[in-house]
């Protein structure tokens, strides 16, 4: 089943939480709702589930609006960050809950519970209580419970947020395989870019209650449509420059920028660390810098650089072999040539600080 969210608005006590949010989740896809905490993604998920009501706009399931339908009538599966398992019920009873509500015959319930526990690899733990399970096991029970009554959509609210890094990694891959197996339309809320990219077919990026960009992980990473997307998806260098005569100027160099007008205008230029080339001698479109720090990071070497023409430290990443060939060391004078720059007009008005990267 497909989901469509159309021009949804929602405010709590006068504070807008969702502003004109629209996007589609085609049937059978796994879509990640990605954004910093407080961007409204969980609220959006709750609106889709029917636990919150939108102030304006519509949610459509398979093209039909679901306004006025309560959570219990929407037949969605919801998995909470903190599992929300029924503590006094064992694993089998938890999974069977949605089926008991629907008064399915006991034999059918038993068979379905067995099937689901096999699916989430928890066979044999039917009699355990939630308190006797690990976090990862609890979340898989929650998932089995959500899937039991064959929901038309599966909604996951930061499902791995409360788990430690290793378990999270395993469950991510497992969730992707599970989705490939059962193909239920899934919307997945996360603040972790890596998690979204690894699991999802497509990513909906949200910031301050608005959708910034929708696309495949490749698209949003390679062609960010706003400075926010650029900064949110991994480390990035920001250069302050200006636009003039069809070119963008900064740090003593300039690159073509067709959108620039005749008159000077402020601009920001973005380059990821691996998009900066480092040379011993000046090349076309390069500016001088001094190496402040050299940090090995596996197959690459991270550099912290200072350029007299740029107002803040620059980070670059070069291959370990190349770093060796260049004999990079602290205090060395080098030339930096951006291989790729993304240019956005305007002053640095974005409140996103580097600590959020």
């Amino acid at each position: 089943m497909s989901i469509a969210v159309h021009a949804v608005h929602k405010a709590f006590d006068g504070h807008p939480v969702l502003r004109d949010v629209s996007f589609d989740v085609p049937g059978g896809e796994l879509v990640a709702l990605l954004g910093p905490s407080g961007c409204g993604k969980t609220t959006l998920l709750r609106v889709i589930a029917g636990l919150e009501e939108a102030d304006a706009g519509a949610v459509l399931h398979d093209g039909a609006p679901v306004e006025g339908k309560s959570a219990r009538e929407r037949n969605v599966g919801l998995v909470f960050q903190h599992y929300a398992l029924f503590r006094h019920m064992n694993v089998a009873e938890n999974v069977a809950f949605g089926l008991r509500v629907r008064r399915r015959p006991a034999a059918a319930v038993r068979a379905r519970v067995q099937e689901l526990l096999r699916l989430v690899q928890l066979s044999g733990l039917e009699r355990r209580f939630p308190s006797q399970l690990s976090g990862g096991q609890r979340q898989r029970v929650a998932l089995a419970r959500a899937l039991a009554a064959e929901p038309r959509v599966l909604l996951l609210d930061e499902p791995f947020g409360a788990l430690d890094a290793r378990v999270r990694q395993e469950l991510r891959q497992w969730l992707r395989r599970l989705h490939d197996e059962i193909h239920v339309t899934t919307l997945f809320v996360t603040h972790d870019q890596e998690e979204a990219f690894e699991v999802a077919d497509r990513v909906v990026l949200m910031n301050r209650g608005q959708v910034e960009q929708v696309g495949t992980p490749r698209q949003v990473f390679d062609e960010p449509r706003s400075p926010f997307v650029m900064q949110f998806l991994g480390a990035v260098n920001v250069f302050h420059g200006r636009l003039e005569d069809g070119r963008a100027h900064f740090g003593g160099i300039d690159v073509p920028h067709p959108a620039a007008g005749e008159l000077p205008a402020p601009a920001r230029l973005y380059a990821r660390p691996h998009e900066l080339e480092v040379h011993r001698d000046p090349t076309a479109g390069s500016f001088p810098a001094r190496v402040l720090r050299v940090t090995p990071a596996g197959s690459a070497v991270r550099l912290e650089l200072h350029a007299p023409t740029v107002d803040r430290p620059i980070s670059a990443e070069v291959e370990a072999r190349r770093a060796e060939a260049l004999a990079l060391a602290e205090g060395l004078e080098v030339w930096v040539a951006p291989r790729r720059l993304r240019v956005f007009e305007g002053e640095a008005a974005d409140s996103l600080s580097s600590s959020q990267l």
């Binding site: 589930a49 029917g50 636990l51 309560s70 959570a71 219990r72 009538e73 929407r74 037949n75 969605v76 599966g77 919801l78 909470f80 903190h82 929300a84 398992l85 029924f86 503590r87 006094h88 019920m89 809950f97 949605g98 008991r100 509500v101 629907r102 209580f129 939630p130 308190s131 006797q132 419970r145 959500a146 039991a148 009554a149």
Partner: protein, 283 residues
């Protein structure tokens, strides 16, 4: 008294120090405050021959008083569980003007001297009282009847259930109820299958406390019951009467029976709670 051992057994030392000291203090304290006074009761009763004891403890007036005391206490405790859970629910789940006032009012039955509550209730429910008069016309007699006794016991026991259930409800995540709703459960189903099991252990504790309090209650009941022997006479009052007549053996026999009843019931409730907690996976 058996040997005191660390849970987990053996002579292994627990993580927390001072088991010997705290266990010793607990036993001494329990002994001083509970066991010694109660054993003098048993000691006194043991001076009676079995036949005498039986005669004193099972006289018609005594039997009628047990029936009333136990029956009214159980009924009051049960009514308090219903009312108390409801009240705790409203106090934790809704924000309304006067909520903190209502919250404070709940404790009032604790603070009031019981005789005051007894007199107030009697005035209210007697034949020409504000509530007693209209009820009388409907054919319902409250004051000077077993119903009045139960009412007084409901009044003094109310805070127990509210105060035991309230913290549990406050701690309960809305997540679980939302999960139930998304899974398709209606409100009644959610209450029965999700909330009730969570609050059951606390409600049972409240029931036990309210019951124990009701069984021993004296001050508030004597006024509203009218104390008609065989009809509206509770056991604690009968014990008082016996004492006033210098009938110590009679009072002792009744007291011992009451004590045995309370202990058995409280013990049973305690086991039930342990069971409910184990089901909750919180053991």
């Amino acid at each position: 008294m058996g040997r005191i051992r660390n849970k987990g057994g053996g002579r292994s030392r627990g993580v927390l120090p001072g088991l010997g000291l705290t266990a010793g203090l607990t036993t001494a304290y329990l002994g001083l405050v509970v066991v010694i006074p109660l054993s003098t009761l048993a000691l006194r009763a043991s001076r009676l021959s079995l036949a005498d004891f039986w005669a004193l403890a099972t006289g018609p007036r005594a039997l009628a008083s047990y029936r009333l005391s136990l029956g009214a206490s159980l009924a009051a405790a049960a009514a308090n569980v219903l009312l108390g859970v409801l009240l705790a629910w409203v106090l934790t789940r809704y924000r309304f003007p006067g909520r903190s006032l209502a919250d404070a009012l709940v404790d009032l039955p604790f603070a009031l001297p019981t005789a005051v509550s007894g007199i107030a209730l009697t005035a209210l429910f007697s034949q020409n009282g504000w509530l007693g008069a209209p009820l009388e016309r409907l054919g319902v007699k409250v004051a000077f009847s077993p119903l009045g006794v139960t009412l007084a016991l409901v009044f003094i026991g109310l805070p127990f259930v509210v105060r035991t259930v309230q913290p549990v409800l406050e701690e309960l995540d809305a997540d679980m109820e939302e999960a139930a709703a998304v899974l398709g459960a209606g409100r009644l189903f959610t209450f029965r299958r999700v909330l009730l099991p969570e609050i059951l252990p606390a409600a049972l504790t409240g029931f036990a406390l309210a019951f124990a309090r009701a069984l021993g209650e004296y001050g508030s009941v004597v006024f509203i019951s009218g104390n008609m022997p065989g009809r509206t006479e509770i056991t604690p009052l009968l014990i008082m009467t016996r004492l006033e007549q210098y009938d110590y053996p009679g009072a002792t026999a009744l007291a011992l029976v009451l004590l045995a009843f309370s202990f058995l019931l409280l013990f049973a409730i305690n086991r039930l709670q342990a069971f409910a907690r184990a089901r909750g996976g919180m053991a």
